[in-house]
Amino acid sequence: MAGENPASTTEYIQHHLTNLVYGKLPAGYERHTDQGVEVLQSDTWTMAHGGQEAADMGFWAIHVDSMAWSIGLGSLFCWMFMRAAKKAHTGVPAGWLNFVEMVVEFIDGAVKDSFHGRNKMVAPLALTIFVWIFLMNLMDLLPVDLIPSLLALTGIHYQKIVPSTDPNITLGMALGVFVLMLYYSFKIKGTGFIKELTMHPFNHWGFIPVNLFMETVGLLAKPFSLGLRLFGNMYAGEMIFILIATMFAAGAGAGLVSGGLHAQLFGEQTSAYFWLVIFVLVCGVCWLNLKGKVSTGKTVLLSMAFMAIGGGVFALGGGLMQWGWAVFHILVITLQAFIFMVLTVVYLSMAHEDH
């Protein structure tokens, strides 16, 4: 669960934003372990212990969690849609097939709206992008601590379950789209594409360097904006879930165990006043007990009740806020999946258009 003081809150957030990384540590690297510093004798492929090691691995590392969830969700998409495809018939569709056909029809319509070339790959590409990204974004709606804390029990300490909050994943897909854009631009336009890059805004040979610079920037901006838009939105959404979790869930368990005292000693500023009220109530009951006005049994019961109310209100508040943000986030994840898909189609459509 979350930390009880500002330092561990930061740690909690950082922990949640660290991938499970498998990669190469260079020879001579100093690993800080529980047993002290260990100096590696040769290049070693290993799981990173923490963000610093992951960063030091540089390029030769792979985010195991992102890849696993991404491949898993992609396979889920393929399997589910394959199942529908196998059962596809010309009669009255029902159940899952009906839903799949609805999605396919929706994608088909969106593609037909913005893509006018003849290419058998664009529509399936759009379907894959939309459903896959939607599923990856959907992982955001799982409670932030659920899967990481379950996996922590099995000894896996870092886990980011939303692949689309990993820029590698979103940029990887955007670069895939970029490769297709380049391929089709060359295939359809041939030398026309070179001409477009060199002669476009200013049609004079003297301006070729300027044109080339401007067009290249414009071209590169497409995949990067595509990938970073999805990453930014999902990262921000995930961040808000984590922040809500640190604000509220932090106190819930503590409240049940030790009432306001715990929070008063280590508490966060945001909830201090709330805990102060509970603390005062508990102290008041104890004081009345000392004065002999309240029996000991009643004191224990009342203290427990105040603590439970304190913890419960906080858990409820946190739950409600998580729920509220999740409801709003459903829009975001669908919209982002849709935008990624539509922009992909539009970019490919531009690659197909011969001026």
Partner: protein
């Protein structure tokens, strides 16, 4: 947050899933949907056609009904006419028969009258003779008087 091999891992995965979708998912579903679309369109067409056929059949049936009614009316008319004719014929025949019977009866009556007249004449002549005989007793020549009386009787 580091850019690393994951980028290329994702690119390869992406390529694979797109290929898979393009090969095994999209065409199958789209084909089924298009076929169903065609089927539905055909079905609607057939329904339209059937509707038109039905309308035609109804029109035809109405026409036939009208025709049949006309025919029936014609037949009834004809029958009525024929009946009238028959009645007329029967009347004429009856009248003719009546006339014939009347003529026959009249002839018989006349014959009867004539016969009665003859008889009466004979009877009158006899009575007159008998009367005269009584009046005159034997003083009269019967032959001469008979001729006289006969003449008288003929005048009756």
């Amino acid at each position: 947050m580091n850019i690393n091999l994951t980028l290329f891992g994702q690119m390869v995965t992406f390529a694979f899933f797109v290929w898979f979708c393009m090969k095994f998912v999209w065409p199958v579903i789209i084909e089924a949907m298009e076929e169903r679309q065609k089927k539905i369109a055909d079905g609607l067409d057939a329904a339209d056609r059937a509707m038109r056929d039905l309308e035609l059949a109804q029109n035809k049936a109405t026409d036939q009904m009208k025709e049949a009614k006309q025919e029936a009316a014609g037949i009834v008319d004809q029958a009525n006419k024929r009946a009238n004719q028959i009645v007329d014929e029967a009347k004429t025949q009856a009248r003719a028969e009546g006339d014939r019977l009347k003529v026959a009866a009249e002839a018989e009556i006349e014959q009867e009258v004539n016969r009665a007249k003859e008889e009466l004449r004979a009877t009158v002549a006899g009575l007159a003779l008998a009367g005269a005989e009584k009046v005159l007793e034997a003083s009269i020549d019967e032959k001469a008087n008979r001729a006289l009386v006969d003449k008288l009787a003929a005048q009756l």
